[in-house]
């Protein structure tokens, strides 16, 4: 193999391997997610009104397509706040909380799984006991208790949402550690005198990254739903800030006369969770060696 052909082959390979494999629905999902992320990031620029800006005389105005006017494209809520502006901000809030939550879940879960899988013995038992205990407590109950004890704040919400899912990561990471640990190159490293910490970080961690990414993407949708549920129940994001779940919760009393107030954030939640779930599914198909075989 000559040096001249190598760059060409490298450039070709990903295209052949990845692009044809990207089915149109996944492509669409990526496009939608990218649009939503961009919209959320640019919310302060795109939103025609402030998030808490009230125009009481415009309250419950329907969206432009349902007989409203151009001043409020998606209508106005029960306080005359522009639904489009709130939706853009809510999208950002929900994505940030869900993203940060997933990150916390991944980090704590991975650390717990690594320690548990690498150390074995009583430490393993203790960690797995904690994970089992978490699985036995309903998530919403846990969240409500935490909020009752320390009150509502964005930080608490992120922590709750993060900790809610750590057990899943811990379990997967531990299982992977146990498999990887038994493989010959790890045994070789250990025979050469590598410390358990070095083995965990240098040899085990890189091998469990792909299942983690898959799990995190799939969990993102669950976390979005959890955040929305908590905000709907009034223990999540507090008014006048907006999250998708809070918008849904506030629309509850107007379901009969102003159904679009609930339908719009609900549609956003559905689209967001469906796209992330689709991408997660597809990533799993791509990265999971067991499924590839």
């Amino acid at each position: 193999m000559s040096d001249e052909t190598l760059p060409l082959r490298r450039a070709e390979r990903p295209r052949r391997k990845w692009l044809p494999a990207l089915p149109p629905p996944v492509l669409l999902a990526f496009a939608v997610l990218a649009t939503m992320l961009a919209a959320a990031a640019l919310a302060p620029l795109l939103a025609p009104y402030g998030i808490a800006e009230q125009q009481l005389l415009s309250r419950l105005r329907p969206p432009a397509l349902l007989g409203g006017d151009g001043a409020h494209l998606l209508g106005a809520d029960h306080l005359g706040r522009d639904v489009l502006s709130r939706l853009l901000h809510a999208l950002g809030t929900t994505l940030v909380i869900a993203g940060a939550g997933v990150l916390i879940g991944v980090v704590t879960g991975t650390i717990a799984g690594l320690i548990s899988g690498s150390a074995g013995g009583w430490l393993d038992h203790v960690f797995m006991l904690l994970v089992d205990a978490q699985a036995a407590v309903p998530l919403t109950l846990l969240a409500l208790t935490a909020v009752a004890l320390v009150g509502t704040s964005p930080l608490v919400l992120v922590l709750i949402v993060g900790i809610a899912d750590y057990d899943k990561y811990a379990r997967v990471v531990r299982a992977q550690v146990l498999t990887v640990r038994a493989r010959t190159f790890v045994e070789a490293a250990r025979a050469l005198g590598a410390s358990p910490l070095r083995v965990a970080l240098r040899h085990v961690l890189p091998n469990i990254v792909s299942p983690l990414i898959v799990l995190a993407t799939i969990n993102l949708s669950t976390v979005i739903i959890l955040e929305s549920a908590l905000s709907f129940l009034g223990v999540g994001v507090q008014p006048p800030h907006a999250s998708l779940g809070l918008m849904l919760g506030e629309a509850r009393n107007h379901l009969i006369t102003a159904w679009w107030l609930a339908a719009i954030p609900a549609a956003a939640i559905i689209v967001l969770t469906m796209t992330t779930a689709m991408i997660g599914d597809w990533l799993r198909d791509r990265l999971d060696p067991n499924l590839a075989a």
């Binding site: 808490a52 009230q54 009481l56 005389l57 309250r59 306080l79 107007h254 009969i256 006369t257």
Partner: protein
């Protein structure tokens, strides 16, 4: 012979069930119930409609006497007549042959007991005792005559006898079950007898056949607690309930669209704000005056109430007749002046918590959010806190600076509205002079002198600004169209034969 008895015993349930099917049941979906049915404890918007149907008062307020259902006229109730013997004594003649739900006859001893239980300084009836505290003693010359002797001349005693807190309770039964027992299983002399009372769920009553003022039209009367507006409307639409209360004006279309039902409404009392004047952030009266000037009441009325609530002339009502001053201006809206007052005050940007119940008041939460936004515009750092236990929490928790409430109009007299609203249910520290003037006005017989005293109290109230009045609210009910029934002011739902029939 035995066979006949058996046959009769078998037939009897069949006969009664046929009768029950002929008679009507009425179910009312309300946004909130109370945790006691003692008429002198359930002194709240949600309590009055419950106790009004199971108890009677000596004198009755005849709401129906005007078109609007707000009349302050007095009519005979358990008393057939009453007269002033001198400035301090009112003699009341009781109706003959009235019995309580448990069959006991109602006599002057029960009336005496009713008021003495409230006036006992050790009893838990703090509010009722404050309200009826001018009564010195009750004399009972015979079974059907009662004499109320007051400490000072009392121009409003008759109105106070028509107050739901003055509902007559049976002495023997009350002494037998005690204060707590009575609140759970009350016995009165009203049209409906309480059968079942489950907290936060329902109160079930049945018609009291021996009621003195005509057989009650509903065989069973049930009040069901359904806190959410949407759920109440759904319950009305699918026939679970016949009447629902507390419909926000923007939901009226949902009821008008139903073929079964229609909206009926009545003016009720006013929604007010209470400020905790003792709190460091709120101690400066200029700051509180600023808060009041920053509220655009006309806008709230127009946007939230579809123009059907009313901005009041200070804290006054037309029902007071000669004590009402129509020349007194309405509350002003002046954001520029508000901003100047707040900047000049000691307020240093502390966060104010405005606590509200999510559903107790129609538009309560929405108005709170709108007002907080109006305050932000004049430089006040405020936020809304929603709490289901808002009334007890806001009384105890000193971190709560602002709360919403509704005022006292159940007795159509400035004594209730002005004095009670800004003393017993206010968060106003240092209102001793105001209360003293109020007690003086409540014992002044000459209407002109009383009028002047209440105007002075309103001056004090506006200057000290321990809170404010938002608007006089309107209560909207969803009612099954074939029911002949109309709501009365101050949340009264009267299901006596005079106000209810099934077509």
């Amino acid at each position: 012979m035995l066979r006949w008895f058996l046959a009769l015993a078998l037939l009897l349930p069949a006969v009664t069930s046929v009768q029950a099917a002929d008679r009507h049941t009425l179910t009312v979906g309300v946004q909130s119930l109370r945790n006691t049915l003692d008429p002198a404890m359930a002194l709240a918007n949600a309590g009055f409609p419950l106790t009004n149907n199971s108890f009677d008062t000596l004198i009755r307020r005849d709401f129906a006497a005007n078109e609007a259902g707000t009349s302050a006229r007095l009519a005979p109730g358990l008393a057939t007549s009453w007269r002033r013997i001198d400035d301090l004594t009112l003699e009341v003649t009781l109706r003959e042959g009235v019995t309580f739900h448990n069959g006991a006859a109602l006599t002057s001893a029960d009336v005496k007991f009713t008021f003495e239980r409230l006036l006992d300084p050790d009893a838990k009836y703090t509010r009722a005792r404050f309200q009826l505290g001018n009564i010195e003693r009750i004399e009972t010359p015979d079974d059907l005559t009662v004499r109320f002797v007051t400490k000072k001349p009392d121009p409003i005693l008759e109105k106070m006898l028509a107050y739901p807190g003055s509902s007559i309770v049976p002495k023997d039964y009350f002494e037998q079950v005690g204060f707590d027992g009575f609140g759970r299983k009350p016995v009165g002399a009203g049209p409906y007898r309480v059968l079942e009372f489950i907290d936060n769920d329902r109160v079930v009553m049945e018609a009291f056949a021996d009621y003195w003022d005509g057989a009650p039209p509903a065989a069973t009367l049930t009040f069901r607690e359904i806190p959410e507006v949407s759920s109440r409307i759904t319950a009305l639409a699918n026939g679970e309930v016949d009447i629902i209360n507390s419909i926000p004006p923007d939901q009226l279309a949902a009821i008008e669209r139903l073929n079964c039902c229609e909206v009926r409404d009545v003016l009720v009392n006013s929604h007010v704000l209470n400020y905790r004047t003792g709190h460091p952030a709120m101690a400066d009266k200029r700051f509180r005056q600023g808060l009041n000037l920053a509220i655009d009441r006309e806008l709230l009325t127009k946007a939230l109430w579809d123009g059907r609530a009313m901005v009041t002339h200070s804290h006054q009502y037309e029902e007071w007749n000669e004590l009402f001053n129509p020349a007194r201006p309405k509350f002003a809206y002046d954001p520029a002046k508000a901003k100047a007052l707040i900047e000049a005050s000691d307020y240093a940007g502390q966060k104010l918590q405005f606590i509200t119940h999510p559903v107790y008041y129609t538009n309560g939460l929405t108005a709170a959010q709108a007002i907080v936004e109006m305050w932000r515009k004049v430089g006040v750092n405020a936020e809304v806190r929603v709490d289901e236990n808002w009334s007890s929490v806001s009384q105890k928790d000193s971190s709560i600076e602002v709360r919403n409430l509704s005022d006292w109009l159940i007795v159509p007299d400035p004594n209730a509205t002005i004095l009670w609203s800004w003393s017993i249910t206010a968060l106003w520290d240092g209102n001793e002079d105001f209360v003293k003037l109020g007690e003086d006005a409540a014992t002044t017989l000459d209407p002109k002198l009383r009028f002047a005293k209440y105007q002075k109290m309103l001056d004090m109230f506006e200057d000290e600004a321990p809170g404010t009045v938002l608007y006089r609210a309107r209560e909207f009910y969803g009612v099954r169209s074939q029911l002949t029934w109309r709501p009365f002011s101050v949340y009264m739902m009267d299901f006596r034969a005079s106000n209810l029939s099934f077509e």
